[in-house]
Amino acid sequence: MIALHMGGVPETAMVLGPILLIVAFIRIARRNEAGLPDDDQDDCDADLGDLPTEAKETARRP
């Protein structure tokens, strides 16, 4: 442990650990975002009730 501390290993892990975690989370977030519909169609979460007017009209057409 003393050798590890003298080599600065815990400090290096404390510095690099969060950076690696952030990189991993960003990759996951990007992968999720890549599968999303276009902006105009996005969000369209029925619970929030803000479907774009155009989309609603399109949906009503036979």
């Binding site: 969060p18 996951i28 975002e33 902006d39 929030l48």
Partner: protein
């Protein structure tokens, strides 16, 4: 008393940290950033906007029962009478009079755990409400439009100025005058405008209500007490400009309190005359509040570059939409800042209570006892300080992200929050530097 309190306040210093200061600041900022990106990866739907608590019918019956109401009112009135009585008629020496400790430690600091644990308890116990209610009127004047919470901001600014700037703020006579004037103004306004005044004008009640939003106990829309997710309660905070000002004032004043203890500050201001002290400290307080406010407004408004769902933002715009995320941060700062102060100086409130009016009494049998400084180690205090700040900011990030999930489209959700993330990391790093650096 201020002279006595200063060395105790923020007693955990740089030497008490288990890691170097730069690493503590980096790790705390990183914890906030990692939390944010984890949320960005896995949290896309607002969860706190629609959460309903579990009704607590039995607790509502107990709390709303007439004997409980009278008990709370009596406790509130007794507390006010004791503070005023001790301040007016007690020992004129700040170190021998309990009133300053009761005001600055028991009430001002104690309001935080009280509201977090018990929820909306200040309102039924508020003695100023009780006194104003004695003047029965058939109708009240209507509160002016747009006044909501601004009188509370003004009152809080006055209190914080007294605590942090005015050199004699701990003199019992000064405490007596402040509490007396505060009570007279609020009772008079309560008689004119009715009980609605206290919800927007009484600084202590507004502060307690804001803190109480983070309590697991709260009142639902039907007025019944309920057990709820504290973050869901927090999301119900009113989106009003006055609330934004109130929280920025709290954060900025805590920052100034930390700065004014730095050796670099005290070296330069130690030799000032009284007038110079007042001017420099007042300007310092204003500058700290302005910087915090500017940073928060900039971060909140910059998120507006993304498209926002219609009908979600309230009267205070985007700063109002995100202001609830400042509440856990303010609590984290307050715990970090006042923890050691409350633990040690709070004991003085008990010891001095044995003779509240300076008559040589020993009501509690504590005469001759002294504050026990040994029951908490400085390392433990430093851990509490850093833990409170980091936890406060993580809860702030979670609250802000949840609101953002309601405001922004999913594709823009992550990037729209970068300005707010930057502000949160800056607040975290700054907060830790303020409470630990010397």
């Amino acid at each position: 008393m201020l002279e006595l309190l200063l060395p105790l306040h923020g007693i955990g210093g740089r030497g008490d940290l288990p890691v170097p200061l730069w690493l503590a600041i980096y790790s705390a900022g990183a914890a906030v950033a990692v939390s944010f990106f984890a949320l960005a990866a896995f949290w896309f739907q607002p969860r706190f906007e629609v959460t309903v608590g579990r009704p607590l019918a039995w607790l509502t019956r107990v709390v709303d029962a007439r004997p409980t109401r009278w008990l709370l009112k009596t406790v509130g009135l007794l507390a006010l009478a004791l503070v005023l009585g001790a301040a007016w008629f007690g020992n004129p020496e700040p170190a021998l009079n309990p009133a300053p400790t009761w005001l600055y430690v028991w009430i001002w600091v104690g309001i935080i755990p009280l509201s977090l644990i018990c929820g909306p308890i200040w309102r039924p116990a508020n003695p100023l409400r009780t006194i104003a209610g004695l003047a029965r009127r058939t109708s009240y004047r209507r509160l002016p439009d747009g006044i909501a919470y601004w009188p509370a901001v003004a009152g809080l600014a006055g209190f914080l100025w007294l605590e942090l700037v005015y050199p004699d703020g701990s003199e019992p006579l000064v405490v007596a005058i402040f509490v007396g004037m505060y009570a007279i103004v609020n009772v008079a306004a309560g008689i004119v405008y009715g009980p609605a005044w206290f919800g927007i004008g009484d600084s202590f009640e507004v502060y307690a209500e804001v803190l109480g939003r983070l309590s697991p106990f709260g009142r639902g829309t039907d007025g019944r007490l309920e057990l709820r997710n504290p973050l869901a309660g927090l999301a119900t905070l009113p989106q009003q400009p006055g609330i934004v000002a109130l929280l920025c004032l709290l954060l900025g004043s805590t920052a100034f309190d930390g700065i004014s203890r730095w050796s670099a500050w005290t070296r330069r201001t130690g030799e000032l005359s009284r007038t110079q002290h007042l001017v420099v400290y007042t300007l310092g307080l204003i500058a700290a509040v302005a910087i915090v406010t500017g940073l928060f407004l900039l971060a909140a408004r910059t998120t507006g570059s993304a498209r926002i769902r219609s009908g979600v933002v309230g009267a205070a715009g985007l700063p109002g939409a995100f202001v609830h995320s400042l509440v856990p941060i303010a609590i984290g700062y307050a715990v970090a800042h006042y923890f050691s102060f409350a633990m040690f100086q709070g004991q003085e409130g008990v010891l001095l209570a044995t003779d509240p009016f300076g008559r040589g009494w020993d009501l509690l049998g504590t005469n001759g006892m002294r504050i026990d400084y040994a029951f908490l180690s400085t390392g433990f205090i430093a851990g509490i300080q850093i833990g409170a700040i980091v936890l406060g900011h993580i809860l702030g990030v979670v609250s802000a992200h949840d609101r953002a999930a309601e405001l922004f489209r999913r594709r823009e959700l992550r990037q729209a929050q970068y300005p707010m993330l930057a502000a949160m990391v800056a607040f975290t790093a700054g907060g830790i530097a303020l409470v630990t650096a010397s």
